[in-house]
């Protein structure tokens, strides 16, 4: 990994205004809408209030979309032959992946921070500072697995549409990940096995400690959420590795 390379890559990504709007402003807008639309945002929820719950959910969604989208650009770069250019330098493939994931996580950190700042300004509350910090850190670090997903899908399709495909997948993951609105019943049982469920549940764990938003459905245990996250990390890492090997063989 190389600091100058990461810096230039970061500048490059930040010039794509459309993408930045998508990755930073959209989750903010979604939080403002969902957090204030129904009223009752000030009501208690776990170790804070409902607005904190929605803020953490939207920040997690935004961060995951950001890493997916940034890592997916590896596909476009690969098509442009940039990977071959990089292969003429001492940087190894692992260094390339690490640089890409770093850039993705920095953008995710900015995206989540934007949501959290608006959250602070508009009445999201938690009982203790550690609830804020721990949920924020889980969001930023956990978003890394969606960088693997973005890179895997991007390189598998190897076309301009790949990023679109990966991002649309995120909408389904978010819905089934209990991110947009609280699921219940059979839908919730299915949702527990989907990629974003563990990540979103962990992001809200400091607040909810696994309890459901409606207070009726069974509480998620910490190990179950972690197991979901680890399992999907392994699956996405496998997909990314397979995709990288495949593009190499094709040369």
């Amino acid at each position: 990994m190389n600091a100058t390379y990461v810096r230039i890559e970061l500048f490059r990504q930040s010039r794509d205004i459309g993408n930045i709007m998508f990755m930073v402003f959209m989750p903010v807008v979604m939080y403002v809408l969902f957090g204030n639309m129904f009223g009752g945002g000030g009501a208690d929820a776990g170790n804070g209030n409902v607005k904190f719950y929605i803020m953490a959910s939207m920040a997690a969604y935004g961060a995951a979309v950001a890493t997916t989208s940034i890592a997916g650009t590896a596909a476009t770069e690969s098509m442009l032959g940039w990977g071959r250019q990089i292969a003429l330098t001492p940087m190894k493939p692992a260094g390339f992946v690490a640089s890409k994931v770093s850039v993705a996580m920095i953008v995710a950190a900015v995206s989540a921070a934007a949501v959290y700042i608006i959250g602070i300004a508009t009445g999201a509350q938690a009982d203790a500072p550690w609830v804020w910090w721990s949920s924020y850190l889980i969001i930023v670090l956990g978003a890394g697995i969606f960088a693997l997903y973005g890179m895997g899908v991007g390189l598998s399709f190897k076309s301009e549409t790949a990023i679109g495909v990966a991002s649309s997948g995120m909408v389904f993951f978010a819905f089934f990940g209990n991110v947009f609105l609280p699921l219940s019943g059979t839908l919730l049982e299915i949702a527990r096995f989907t990629p974003m469920y563990g990540y979103a549940g962990l992001a809200r764990y400091p607040l909810m400690e696994g309890a459901m938003a409606n207070g009726r459905d069974s509480t998620d245990s910490l190990w179950m959420l972690v197991a979901n996250l680890v399992a999907w990390t392994l699956i996405f890492a496998g997909l990314a590795l397979w995709a990288v090997r495949r593009t190499r063989a094709r040369q």
């Binding site: 190389n2 600091a3 100058t4 390379y5 230039i8 890559e9 500048f11 490059r12 010039r15 794509d16 770069e77 098509m79 442009l80 032959g81 940039w82 071959r84 250019q85 990089i86 292969a87 003429l88 330098t89 001492p90 940087m91 040369q251």
Partner: protein, 321 residues
């Protein structure tokens, strides 16, 4: 130049004792791709040795196996069999040591970076940020520094790729059809920069399908076709390798045709003399003698000397095997 004789592929390559002066060595290199239509042998056994300081043209038509061979020299692709060594190391080790570098044929640039950002990013990966100014100046990129790659012309992009290749200050520089898609003046400008640079003791191997580029810039030419080396020798003997030139001229109307043709046929190494009306064409590697005779002794007019196209040369060479 280390070799003075043209040796064809059928002849065993001259084996010389291992010296430290060898920049590039390929031995029995083959590369087979598995395609939907079955296995395809892009490189079918290449032996090649390039000494330090040589400028070698890798000449062949599209699909001859030039890019695949170059990919193996750079460690971008592993050979199916055979070995490649660069200054006695594996290609990847030589890349990491900054000893070999290349201008790749197509792509290789990010359109939304500026010229300076591109140079800086690659320089950082080489740990060669101190060479940025020097390289940008030498490749005349100063005025373009703040321009987006997407706004650069084909020639400018090629110059940028050349700059990237110079960043590690490589001892061996490989150029894969560096002037493809350039107009004539851009092509000349590119080679001028190249030549200035190559004179500083770098070893250069460039792939091209322009016969003139090989003739103008390389001391040695390796002809490649269908994944094999067809001929390898000094470029000055390229005419011999490719079957010579054709001299065409119009004979004066009052000249006796038969004795004139006999005289032309008697010239050394003439391979064919043809006549159509009173337009005569003489083919052979030594066009000067034929031209001289036509213009002086025979008083011919409208003299025209043409070099064979690469395609005809290749057809001739492949038929021999």
């Amino acid at each position: 130049m280390s070799e003075k004789t043209v040796h064809r592929r059928s002849a065993a390559p001259a084996t010389r004792p291992e010296t430290s002066g060898k920049a590039l060595e390929l031995r029995g290199v083959r590369k087979t791709f598995h395609t939907a239509q079955g296995p395809f042998e892009a490189v079918a056994g290449i032996d090649l040795s390039v000494g330090t300081g040589e400028i070698v043209a890798f000449l062949g038509p599209n699909g001859a196996g030039k890019t695949t061979s170059i990919d193996m020299m750079l460690g971008l692709t592993a050979p199916t069999s055979g070995t490649v060594s660069v200054f006695g190391k594996s290609p990847r080790a030589a890349v990491e040591a900054g000893e070999i570098s290349a201008v790749l044929q197509t792509g290789g640039l990010l359109r939304d970076l500026t010229v300076r950002e591109t140079v800086t990013a690659i320089a950082a990966l080489h740990g060669a940020k101190d060479r940025i100014e020097e390289v940008m100046e030498r490749t005349n990129l100063g005025a373009l520094a703040r321009r987006k790659v997407s706004k650069c012309s084909g020639g400018e992009q090629q110059r940028l790729k050349f700059a990237l290749a110079l960043l590690p200050d490589p001892r061996l520089l490989i150029l894969d059809e560096p002037t493809a898609g350039m107009d004539v003046s851009a092509r000349h400008g590119f080679w001028e920069t190249m030549r200035e640079d190559a004179l500083q003791g770098r070893t250069v191997l460039f792939a091209t399908h322009y016969l003139e580029e090989a003739q103008d810039f390389a001391e040695r030419t390796v002809l490649i076709g269908s994944g094999r080396i067809l001929a390898d020798g000094p470029t000055t003997e390229l005419r011999g390798m490719t079957g010579g030139r054709t001299v065409g001229a119009t004979l004066p109307a009052d000249l006796a045709i038969e004795p004139a043709l006999a005289a032309l046929k008697s010239l050394p190494r003439v391979t064919s003399v043809q006549i159509q009306g009173n337009r005569v064409s003489v083919t052979g590697p030594e066009s000067d003698a034929a031209a001289m005779m036509l213009l002086t002794e025979l008083g011919a007019a409208d003299l025209e000397i043409t070099t064979p196209t690469l395609e005809t040369a290749f057809m001739a060479l492949t038929e021999e095997h």
